[in-house]
């Protein structure tokens, strides 16, 4: 533990670096995936194209991407921006499908009734589709958050500072404590993001918290159990 106590400043700096590398991609990939996922869900043709492109994008190994990307964008390979862009791309690849599936999961009756009472396409997207797709989006975001935090460590290999630098440095200099610190903090950061997203979800989607006391068979006729009758009568 001596190494840890004497290098708290370094650990704190690398943690901040890691945050700078991982938070923007999580937010950016979500914002960019939203319209793409909407488009994928909206039209049959765009669905095929966008989802296939997303799948291919995710299939690109990270290291070659880090090398090729600077050539395309025109930045230094060691620039944090390089890593942020790469991680954003991976996030988009995962989230496009999640957004499309989430929007598709919204009950058709609910959508139709929203249209019938006068929601415009725009207001229905923000006030009906998006919140109701929320649970699926949240599940996808949690995966992306965790994978982004772990992928960000790879940046150390190309010289972008992050918690990953602690284990590359530890390996080179043979400091076991440094390696372990890097691993533990990466995992802790991933868990923290995951927890934060769950909390955010609870705040943003209060209706998923409260226990639904009754399961209605969708579209099925006249299924109301006895206790419901009693409740109706007693209230």
């Amino acid at each position: 533990m001596n190494w840890v106590w004497s290098n708290l400043d370094l650990i704190w700096d690398r943690t901040l670096d890691h945050l700078v590398l991982s938070v923007p991609p999580i937010i950016l990939s979500f914002l960019i995936a939203l319209p793409l996922g909407w488009l994928a869900n909206r039209y049959r043709i765009s669905r095929g194209i966008i989802l296939t492109a997303g799948g291919l994008l995710y299939a690109i190994p990270s290291f070659p991407l880090f090398v090729v990307l600077p050539l395309i964008v025109g930045i230094s390979i060691r620039s944090p921006l390089n890593l942020i862009i790469a991680l954003t791309l991976y996030g988009i690849a995962l989230l496009v499908r999640v957004v499309a599936d989430g929007l598709a999961s919204v009950d058709a009756d609910t959508r139709q009734s929203a249209t019938a009472v006068g929601f415009s396409t725009w207001s229905a997207f923000w006030q009906v589709d998006l919140p109701l797709a929320g649970p699926v989006l949240l599940a996808g975001l949690r995966v992306v958050a965790v994978s982004t935090v772990s992928l960000a460590t790879v940046g150390a290999v190309i010289g972008v500072q992050s918690l990953g630098s602690l284990f590359t440095d530890g390996f080179q200099r043979g400091i076991q404590e440094e390696i372990i610190t890097g691993i533990v903090l990466s995992v802790a950061l991933a868990l923290f993001f995951d927890w934060a997203l769950v909390m955010l979800g609870r705040l943003a989607m209060p209706w998923t918290r409260r226990g639904s006391r009754k399961t209605r068979s969708p579209g099925g006729p006249a299924v109301q159990s006895e206790p419901d009758l009693v409740r109706t009568a007693t209230r």
Binding site: A114, G118, L132, G134, M205, L229
Partner: protein, 303 residues
Amino acid sequence: MIEYRSVTKQFPDGTLAVEDFSLVLPSRQTTVFVGSSGSGKTTLLRMINRMVDPTSGTIEIDGVDIATLAPVNLRRSIGYVMQNSGLLPHRTVVNNVATVPLLRGVPRQKARENALALLDTVGLDRSLADRYPSQLSGGQQQRVGVARGLAVDPNILLMDEPFGAVDPIVRAELQQELRRLQVELDKTVVFVTHDIEEAFLLGDQVVILRTGGQIAQVGTPSEILANPADEFVASFVGADRGKRALHFENHNGSDILVDSEGRIAGVIETDAAASVPPPQSVSESKAGSVSGSGAPAQGGDQR
């Protein structure tokens, strides 16, 4: 007043849902479209708020061709109640009721107050206001649906089989509530159902539809029951099977009203002046063995 003028609707797959349909729906009355599936009744209803646009023909509301109106604004001015309530599962009861006023820019506080008042109107306790739809029974959800339909105080209320998915006891309760609301609120109601009893109970004007949106007969419930236009109508309302024929039987000196299947439908009140009682009193004293046996005539004579 809503008027259909030679309206035809052909869906992209070639199905002719409605063909050359013309009809006037009088203001402040309830018109019920009744027919089996495939009769085009829901299509006819959805054409009024432009959920479906006709292939040819026009629909006018108070003389204005609705094709000239923006669909979203039109829908916000017309109440809509559907089967399975169609409530937004992520909004509380009070916010569901306030949905359309909020879309129309009514301040949040005022919209909430109005919504709470509407819960009273449809017979729901205000303590339910902050629950989510999934926490309510089917009947309660349907009441919230009606309250939402009334929230902008529309002249027209469209109801698409609103009581189709609740059990018979709750349905009867909701039907009575709707009759009360009709008297109280005086809206132009367009109601779709496949249940002829419901149509006769609620409708001032009943439109019996054949396949393809063809009108088999239009009239008040009593007109239709007294003079079914043809065999199709007679069979639809059950007159051909003698189902609605009632006769007297004398038991120990008092007259008992018996239906075609020999079940007791009610007793004849002896102090009634007329030897043949008006249908209204029959239904009021009905024994309940035959559901709604006297109700059709009652619905027609109501106003």
